[in-house]
Amino acid sequence: MLEHIELFFKSIFIDNMVFAVFLGMCSYLAVSKKVSTAVGLGAAVIFVLGVTVPLNWLLDTYLLQDGALAWLGPEYADYNLSFLSFILFIATIATMVQLVEIVVEKFSPALYNSLGIFLPLIAVNCAILGGSLFMQAREIPSLGLALNYGISSGIGWFLAILAIAAIREKIRYSNVPAPLRGLGITFIITGLMGIGFQSFGGMLTGDNEPPEDVDTSTAKKVEEKKIEKEIEDEEKAVSYNEVINK
């Protein structure tokens, strides 16, 4: 249970799809002019991520991974089909989006009217494929956690687009320098929000770190720590996945 809660908050705040790994930026920038449309797209993303991530987890575990075909019989145990994962994941996503669209249209016309126009957009939203690829890269261990991961990263994306849409509605009344108007200022605001979200980073890792040595007697010690932290930051930015797995 604890790992579910941890993964849930981690995916929403610390590894936020938009602010930490820049996924789904295209639709994030294009569809964030009004709050109402942003809510529609955000809901569709949560829904599709919640469906495709567990599905791709099943494919990854029983078809693609090294030795995943062992359930067919011992002679299949040597196969490693993981090079096919891109094509299989994107095919699953494209098919699922189409399927979801048809099902929703049939059973819930009201939902279809609010989500419908966004669903085709989602097939090529990097956040969806990114969700599946990160699920594979971080080696999420169970189907339940994969479902949790899909939904919670969707919620993180939803929060991000909701926030930026609200800010953009307000910023229309501000006097932004002309060359920054529109796209430029949106980038910078997103950057600032991202810095804000970075502060969530200590939320879960805080307890594992040894207590900070407060009275550092020599200046050299402080310096060393600073360099260590810089290296740590660099690792955080560059090899994101490895940090997650630690």
Binding site: S85, R181, T190
Partner: protein, 215 residues
């Protein structure tokens, strides 16, 4: 260029500046920002996208009369995915460390909106040679921004370029560091990339006022 007519040359030159895919068309940001903390990763990413877009545009353009329009998205995705798998396997074989650094972002070239956008907008309606130029041009425009961002982030954030120290040794306090210069750790965190791109947009639109958006 004698090889290219003026119209063809514009296909390559336009996306480099006034019709840049990232700063003007707002496409392909997804994979552009996360990997630009290092110049080397930016260059490799740019080269991968140039390859995928050049070849992809040619393939789609060759098949443009054969693809039924209803399933064209799936066909396009399959073409891109196959090309990206090739890039991924080559990187894994010859530059394993780098492919670890780029991680899932190579895979995310598939959903890079520039690629789908150019397939839809150009390759489906134009001949092979022009599609090829258009693909290369847009990928170059994307690569240029990537390399500019990577250059500043690595230089200011780590004081290195391609991993080679430029300002001296921060630990031993040589070079610029001996007079009190510090690396700006801020440039290394992911959100800094957004701010750098924001500044690039600012500079570009100040120079060319026709690009300024209506409020």
């Amino acid at each position: 260029m004698a090889l290219l007519s003026k119209k063809d040359a514009n296909l390559i030159l336009d996306p480099l500046a006034d019709n840049n895919p990232i700063t003007i068309q707002v496409l392909g940001i997804c994979s552009a920002l996360a990997i630009t903390a290092e110049l080397k990763a930016s260059v490799v990413m740019a080269l991968s996208v140039i390859f995928v877009m050049g070849v992809g545009n040619v393939v789609i353009s060759l098949m443009r009369n054969l693809i039924p329009s209803k399933i064209r998205i799936i066909v396009q995705l399959v073409v891109v995915a196959s090309l990206v798998i090739m890039v991924d396997q080559v990187l894994k074989a010859f530059a394993y460390e780098l492919s670890k650094t780029l991680g899932v972002f190579i895979g995310l070239i598939i959903t890079n909106c520039i690629i789908m956008g150019r397939f839809e907008a150009f390759a489906l309606g134009n001949g092979v040679w022009r599609s090829f130029l258009d693909g290369i041009g847009n990928a170059l425009g994307y690569g240029v921004i990537l390399i500019i961002v990577g250059f500043f982030r690595e230089l200011l954030g780590s004081g290195t370029l391609f991993g080679i120290p430029v300002f001296g040794d921060p630990v031993a306090k040589t070079g610029l560091y001996s007079i009190g210069y510090e690396n700006n750790g801020f440039m290394i965190i992911p959100p800094a990339a957004l701010i750098v791109v924001g500044i690039i947009i600012w500079v570009q639109r100040s120079r060319n006022r026709a690009l300024i958006e209506e409020a």
